[in-house]
Symmetry: C2
Subunit: 195 residues, 2 copies
């Protein structure tokens, strides 16, 4: 497998972390957005959205971090990472949605402003980010994992940018349940740090 | 089933449309955001994110339009709406991600500014919106449906806000393949208009 990757991208880290948890070997192809790597004809053929991560598995090309997590879970993981049952699938789907909405458009965008000088409305992004952290904190007060009684790809999808909230100017010190959840993820077998 | 619903919400229309395609009966509970309905303790207990749609099915409560589509497809639909196969699932997942990212944060937000006087950066949202319409147009030039050779929940998830692009100040006249795809969706058995 080949992963088109930016080391500081939380979306790429979702995939690297999950590949590690699944104990899958893969080759990393570093991508440099600033150098225009994601706008080349070659790259846009892989992913017309012009974003990392992109995964190549033999002849198959998959873009989007959430779609890649779904693929890897179903193809290489056991049932527990992405259940087939309708209700359990919906519970996972809810937190996959949070990862793609408030976490990405709140925390990740605030981080991109502070870390990579992107344009935007920092206060708006931080408000969205702290809003969803409040929701997660309450949710995790009496639960170990976001969606089910065991880790799922919902935890993997939400983890990177929550872990990186301090980069977005959002402290996690008021969120003890989230901190405990982060610690639980760090103890998963074959856990891998971002860098 | 009960659907907490706002008639003008594209996210709610995704669920109403899919329930109709599945020929499922349900009760609609109209929600008025302006009157504070989504911030009451009762509603936040159903959905701590304070958003519609929320679906109640017997004792089960599911929030988030994408999670609801996944649930309904797996529980009441046939395999074709949301395949179990890893590769097909990933193809659907890619376009579910587009629905939650560029379509929501581009087209839907531009529409919310123009229609509901929400704050934001209209030009940024319209740029994101037209960017993803270009991608969809190219993708649909030699395909009937977004993810697979038949309609899936990816089509249902992307459809409402693409259909509503004119409300966002984005004309669809330059996108004949998207228009043909819209027409195909409208001919699905039990198709239901937004209003």
């Amino acid at each position: 497998m080949k992963l088109y990757d930016i080391s500081l991208s939380g979306n790429c880290y979702k995939v690297r972390l999950f590949l590690s948890l699944l104990d899958k070997e893969y080759e990393t192809i570093p991508v440099n957005t600033a150098a225009g790597d994601t706008r080349t004809a070659m790259f846009l053929k892989l992913n017309p959205r012009g974003q990392v991560p992109v995964l190549e598995d033999h002849d198959l090309v998959i873009w989007d971090s959430t779609a890649i997590l779904m693929y890897l879970a179903r193809r290489y993981g056991n049932e527990s990472w992405l259940p087939r049952d309708a209700i359990e699938l919906a519970m996972v789907g809810q937190w996959l949605a949070v990862a793609q909405n408030e976490i990405l458009y709140g925390i990740a965008r605030a981080r991109a402003m502070l870390l990579f000088k992107r344009a935007g409305d920092l206060q708006e992004y931080q408000t969205i980010g702290t809003g969803i952290l409040e929701v997660m904190e309450q949710h995790l007060e009496n639960r170990d994992w976001l969606a089910l009684k065991h880790p799922t790809i919902a935890d993997i999808a939400c983890y990177p940018y929550v872990l990186l909230a301090p980069d977005a100017g959002i402290t996690l010190e008021h969120y003890p349940a989230i901190q405990a959840w982060i610690d639980r993820i760090k103890t998963l077998p074959d856990y891998k740090d971002m860098l």
